[in-house]
């Protein structure tokens, strides 16, 4: 499996759960691009349902989510920074709002709540402790035959614990 296949599995799952998948692809270079700490980043997947906007980065192996890339941040750190940066969040919700409008789902940008998310194709055993106390949702995406894939929430941020996410 390659990273894009993983993104596609999660996108298909979210679609089945009535999410509007607004961006999906490891190679989608600029959609929903945001700037944090002078670095630009485009998430692998963006999906909306009932005002919850999942903004996600994925890797095949969960430990890769915590490796610093050439720009000095890991995918996980980028999601943490996104959660803390109002400007970046605003640019994403504005883009999401206008895209949703084109498919007939009218909602104002202010009503969208971003849920920063990371996902991988394993069970996060070695890295699960990194999430504790943080703002980032962790999803393990396991391919099943026949599809759909199985999605396991390995970590849900405290203030999202009671939300209906998946």
């Amino acid at each position: 499996m390659q990273e894009d296949d993983l993104v596609s599995l999660l996108a298909a799952h979210l679609r089945a759960k009535e999410y509007n998948v607004l961006a999906a692809g490891a190679n989608q270079s600029a959609a929903f691009r945001f700037s944090v700490a002078d670095r630009r980043k485009a998430p692998d997947l963006v999906a909306e349902r009932k005002g919850i906007l999942i903004v996600a980065e994925g890797k095949i192996r969960s430990k890769s989510l915590f490796l610093k890339g050439p720009r000095g941040f890991s995918d996980y750190e980028c999601m943490e920074l996104l959660d803390a940066c109002e400007t970046a969040r605003r640019s994403i919700t504005a883009e999401a709002s206008s895209r949703l409008a084109t498919i007939g789902h009218l909602c104002c940008a202010e009503s969208l709540r971003i849920l920063p998310t990371v996902f991988a194709a394993d069970h996060f055993h070695a890295v699960a402790s990194n999430f504790v106390g943080g703002p980032v949702l962790g999803l393990a995406v396991t391919e099943r035959d026949p599809l759909p894939a199985e999605i396991d929430m390995v970590y849900t941020p405290a203030h999202w614990a009671n939300a209906s996410i998946l």
């Binding site: 390659q2 999906a24 989608q28 959609a31 409008a101 498919i103």
Partner: protein
């Protein structure tokens, strides 16, 4: 045997799913099945050598987002259509770097569709309107290879927001007029391939003629492109025309170089030289800075934005026939910011990894890769910048050497 369509995608599975969903190919070939596969990320991966040969040839210049191959169980698996998609309007002359993405298809006589917004002049961060030269260049490609390439407009609301699909909201609305045309074109091309008709026969179909008319009406909006419109050409050709042989010899002398005495007749007889200079703006930059900048582009960014530019200028100003030998103007890549050894280090890497260095079968790790090298050499695993420039150019000029083809 039932026909199978294989949707190969390059890091864009979502587009492959979208195309498979909307194309309805089982309506064209009853009973056909579909499968989606990922292309190997790198040409050096073992899976590369196992791809259908015609598909590997199509990927010579670049990898389209989706290539649809047909397996009828009788003929070799072969590509029948390709899709390229972008959410952004290429700003200014940035279309030059996107240009190569479907040229490999046309060269292999595989029709394709390029989907992109044409006008996003009200977009907050990427405001732009497409340059008519893009359409002109693709019209030349279609004409030369007798293979239709359609450029479909991804419409926007208010030149700002892309119109999205209801089933796949990260893809273009499949009900848009041009998307409907693109899918109808895909079905026509697939039906034609299934019945064994040559692609050139499509050029006489009314549906394709109308698609070409749409491209042409945009291509000639701003008149025919000229050398003076492109700074990377005008810098060495200020008179808005290719240099003569005498002028080219003089230009080389300004760089302390001499024309080799044993140039192929083909090059000398043309007596016209189009010089492409990737880094045209050298103001305030030292030779060391320019060399470092260009090497960083080649090494870390796949040669962008310069990768496809010589090929685009070839089609705009030089090319007459299907191969680079069929030109009436020589294409000269001015790489005088680099030394010969700078680019040579990339083919040295290919040489060091080549299975052809081994004489003991135990050292051959992957037979398909070995046999690919035997039949085709290392060209497909060559650094893309070197591969495309070698293909496109008649002459490459370094600061310390001249090579010719």
């Amino acid at each position: 045997m039932a026909v199978q369509f294989i949707f190969y995608h390059h890091k864009n599975r979502s587009l492959a799913e979208y195309v498979a969903h909307h194309a309805n190919l089982s309506g064209v070939v009853p009973g056909a099945t579909e499968v989606i596969c990922s292309l190997p990320q790198q040409a050096v991966e073992s899976g590369w050598a196992e791809l259908p040969t015609a598909l590997r040839r199509l990927l010579f210049f670049a990898r389209p987002d989706v290539v649809i191959c047909m397996d009828d169980g009788v003929r070799p698996i072969r590509p029948v259509f390709a899709f390229e998609i972008t959410e952004h309007v290429p700003a200014r002359d940035h279309w030059l770097q996107r240009f190569v993405n479907l040229v490999g298809c046309a060269q292999e006589r595989v029709p394709g569709a390029y989907i992109m917004p044409f006008d996003m002049s009200n977009h907050a961060s990427f405001a732009s309107k497409i340059d008519a030269s893009f359409f002109f260049a693709y019209d030349r490609v279609t004409e030369i290879h007798q293979t239709p390439i359609f450029i479909a407009e991804w419409e926007t609301s208010g030149q700002k927001t892309l119109k999205l699909d209801k089933v796949f909201p990260n893809q273009p609305d499949s009900n848009l007029d041009d998307l409907q045309r693109a899918f109808a074109f895909l079905r026509k091309a697939v039906a034609s391939a299934h019945h064994g008709r040559p692609v050139s026969s499509l050029m006489r179909e009314r549906q394709i003629i109308e698609l070409r008319d749409r491209i042409r009406s945009r291509a000639y909006e701003a008149g025919v492109p000229q050398i003076k419109h492109f700074r990377r050409l005008a810098v060495a050709m200020p008179q808005n025309r290719p240099l003569t042989l005498a002028e080219f010899t003089g230009w080389l002398a300004t760089h302390g170089l001499h024309l080799p005495g044993n140039l192929p007749d083909r090059i000398e007889r043309r007596d016209r030289f189009l010089i492409f200079t990737p880094q045209a703006d050298k103001r305030g930059k030292s030779p060391a800075t320019l060399r470092e900048a260009l090497m960083a582009r080649i090494d870390k960014r796949g040669g962008d934005p310069y990768l496809g530019q010589p090929l685009a200028f070839d089609y705009l100003f030089c090319r007459l026939g299907e191969t680079p030998y069929e030109r009436d103007v020589n294409v000269v890549a001015n790489l005088t910011d680099l030394r010969f050894e700078d680019l040579a280090k990339f083919h040295r890497k290919v040489w060091e990894k080549s299975p052809l260095q081994h004489t003991d079968i135990k050292n051959i790790k992957h037979i398909p890769t070995y046999t690919m090298y035997l039949k085709e050499g290392g060209v497909e695993v060559m650094k893309n910048f070197l591969r495309v420039y070698a293909f496109s150019s008649d002459i490459i000029v370094f600061s310390d050497a001249i090579i010719y083809f």
